[in-house]
Symmetry: C2
Subunit: 248 residues, 2 copies
Amino acid sequence: MNKLYLVSIGPGALDLITPRACEALRKCEIIIGHQLYLDLIQTLIPDKEQIASPWGKEIERVDLAINKVKEGHNVSLISSGDIGVYALGGLALERLGENNLEINYEIIPGITSANACASILGAPLSHDFLTLSLSDLLVPKETILERAEAAGKGGFVSVLYNVQSPKRQELVYQVMEKFRPHRSPQTPCGVVSNAFRPDEKSQILTFENLFSMQFDMLTTIILGNDATKIVRNRLVTQRGYSFKNETE
Amino acid sequence: MNKLYLVSIGPGALDLITPRACEALRKCEIIIGHQLYLDLIQTLIPDKEQIASPWGKEIERVDLAINKVKEGHNVSLISSGDIGVYALGGLALERLGENNLEINYEIIPGITSANACASILGAPLSHDFLTLSLSDLLVPKETILERAEAAGKGGFVSVLYNVQSPKRQELVYQVMEKFRPHRSPQTPCGVVSNAFRPDEKSQILTFENLFSMQFDMLTTIILGNDATKIVRNRLVTQRGYSFKNETE
């Protein structure tokens, strides 16, 4: 029976794509995804039908994938990072459910952007952390700010996605203001763009420094907490081992 | 020059280990990790020196790995999931820093337990989420409860790690009580044990149901939020596409 594969391709480097994801791509006649994602895996799918779909056409992209399976094909719908995190995994399940379609599917997990960026910076996500998207296209701005406040108060190391777009310049600073009462200005933080891709850039700096920076939609910010420190130019969040060691 | 590889082996299935991780293992003469992790990748390292280390001996495990590199070996220190998440990545960087050691190292990210469990349940982490460890060995119980309160209030889908041990029976229920003011009793949630391992078990149930269950240290709980629903026996957190579609 034909199958819809919901395939996570990880941050972008070919050797960070799992064999299970590669095998799914191999089994399919049609690969559907944003052109940026198709480009990342081009060498894996030279002989496949490829259908690029623009940003913002998520429902159409999912429905197209489902329809191609109904027509008798094996289809991979791909996403960078993990297809279950800020991507199309959930929407695909919803569309299958709404249309009560008996289609075989499989979700293949991958390395999310949060983990990829963290590994470049050091180990800032060693303990409790959260991810917060700053895109207000699908979520009211008020909800984003409320979550930022809870995140700050809870002391979670926080990974900010979709931090700034040409149309949405101010929200990232407003979000970081919510953290201010709960973070020292010297709290170590990190900024990563294009993790594991040709234009990768990363920087470690203080919470305070972030307020004078410009970002873009491909930038991820990791805000440390009071257990985060800089160890030889790397960002590390302590889990308490040092403390434990001292008291043993 | 010799190198310390901090290697994430993902949830456990061999085809969810990245080629970059496999290549690191191949380059090393010595593989160090908990026996459970060594067992998971046994077929990849039959000819390697393997050093198993018990739980709770984290500093010793890291220092041993560093010393073996200093002695002239390439060494992999391995962890299931992502070595940067509730694992030894941060501690390794700290120990290198404390001893001011000029040792080459590389952190190889992997698929975390949160993402692995989510993919089994459906797509509960489609939007903002957090992870919270309930282990009180390294963190005061009060901090865990404060974070649970912030997590509940912020409406984050929440992944609970290390939920219950023989000695720590009550904390998981106390943590979930912190979510109660912010979650309907019918909120869909998921429970996964041994994701992608031979004894994998998973269950989708309501928030209310969780309070009458027993768990263990290998169980992960995913608490949905008000955008989480059940679609054909799968857990899905909506990102707002349906809403957007209706209003277009």
